[in-house]
């Protein structure tokens, strides 16, 4: 049996591929791209939430937000570690992020304008991420799958703390409710864009499905997220900003309106409201930490 046949046989039998196993070059490349994009998203995703740490409305809110953001740092680390098993160093991945060769989820290029956004982000952005990550637990690459299992264990706290924030506001004073609705209005469409282009327009997803990297398609995952979320909005009296959103009895799912893909691609390609700010800040933090890494390296060398 050829290497490729053995590889495909493993995929077919749901046997995970491990770092030292033979794998097609395209498989390795696809994983390097997808996993590093995922890692970058966790790390860049700390910025819009970090924006509110110093202005959290209570000590309880503050420690929760800190713990949540710390988890996201951890998620980034799990994913970089897993991605490094594909024979590319962390420095290379980070360099690709900083030189904008690598992407991260476009949702993090939107600003977080009010405290209600901390609710909307946890509820919707982490909510969408959970749907995607639960599915990725079954991915064919062992280290990626194990990172997903670990991450999923931590995510439900993220979504619940967000929904708690937004439901308190939605059920609060008229001004608070207005802020909650405004946050939902701004976050809804970018959240459902997180699942990526429609299946028909997603060039690379064929290989990803064939190789078991993705086990469900963008559209399936997006639909699952929408179906779960509508009731949660209704319960707290918020309106999802989509006039075409309607229960479809026959499909047992919600129909929804046209996604603005021009906006999606503009943000992916660098023209979102905060793209420059996010990357500049990452570079600045990385540079400001350089002396710490150098000192730690020198100290470790001395003690060897």
């Amino acid at each position: 049996m050829s290497d490729l046949d053995k590889f495909l046989k493993k995929i077919e039998n749901n046997v995970k591929i491990e770092p030292k196993d033979w794998m097609p070059d395209g498989y390795r490349k696809h994983l390097q791209g997808q996993m590093s994009q995922h890692a970058h998203s966790e790390v860049i995703g700390m910025q819009p939430e970090g924006n509110w740490i110093s202005r959290a409305p209570s000590l309880r809110a503050k420690v929760i937000l800190l713990a949540k953001i710390q988890d996201e740092a951890g998620h980034g680390q799990y994913l970089y570690s897993a991605a490094e098993t594909l024979g590319k160093s962390r420095d290379e991945y980070i360099n690709e992020l900083q030189t904008r060769k690598a992407k991260y989820s476009s949702i993090f290029n939107y600003p977080t304008l009010t405290w209600a956004d901390m609710g909307a982000v946890g509820w919707l952005v982490d909510g969408a991420a959970i749907v995607n990550q639960v599915s990725l637990q079954k991915t064919s690459y062992g280290p990626y799958s194990r990172a997903m299992v670990r991450i999923c264990k931590e995510e439900s706290f993220h979504q619940r703390q967000g929904y708690e924030i937004i439901s308190h506001m939605a059920l609060g004073t008229p001004e608070q409710k207005e802020m909650a609705q405004d946050a939902l209005n701004r976050t809804w469409w970018p959240s459902i864009m997180m699942f990526g282009p429609h299946d028909a327009d997603s060039a690379r997803s064929g290989d990803a499905m064939k190789w078991g990297i993705k086990v469900e398609s963008n559209d399936e995952l997006r639909q699952r997220f929408i179906d779960k979320t509508v009731q949660q909005a209704e319960l707290i009296g918020l309106t999802i900003p989509d006039p075409d959103l309607k229960w479809n009895e026959e499909r047992g799912s919600y129909d929804f309106g046209e996604i603005n893909w021009d906006e999606f691609w503009a943000v992916v390609n660098g023209d979102g409201p905060c793209n420059d700010q996010r990357i500049d800040h990452h570079i600045k933090a990385h540079e400001e930490g350089r002396w710490v890494r150098e000192a730690a390296n020198a100290y470790a060398q001395k003690n060897n």
Partner: protein
Amino acid sequence: MDNQGDVWEVFIQSKPGLAHKHVGNIHAMGKEMALQNARDMYTRRQEGTCIWVVKMEDVTSSVPEEDGSFFEPANDKIYRQATHYVMPEGSKNI
């Protein structure tokens, strides 16, 4: 030059009495930092009672492509399995 420190493999014992289990790896400069980073990364919710860290370069692994011949000696020794033995009819609790 990679300036993020060495890669350390992390093993965690989840409860006293259980074996340490590999959970992933971290980057760190030196043993002490490796332990601290492993704690911050893998035990934020009381997942462990003890942590081992081992520099990745100090781990030696068998090679999956050679699995066949490497584990060969175990294949033809089925008498190492308890199920190989036929117990007399009617015997219990054995």
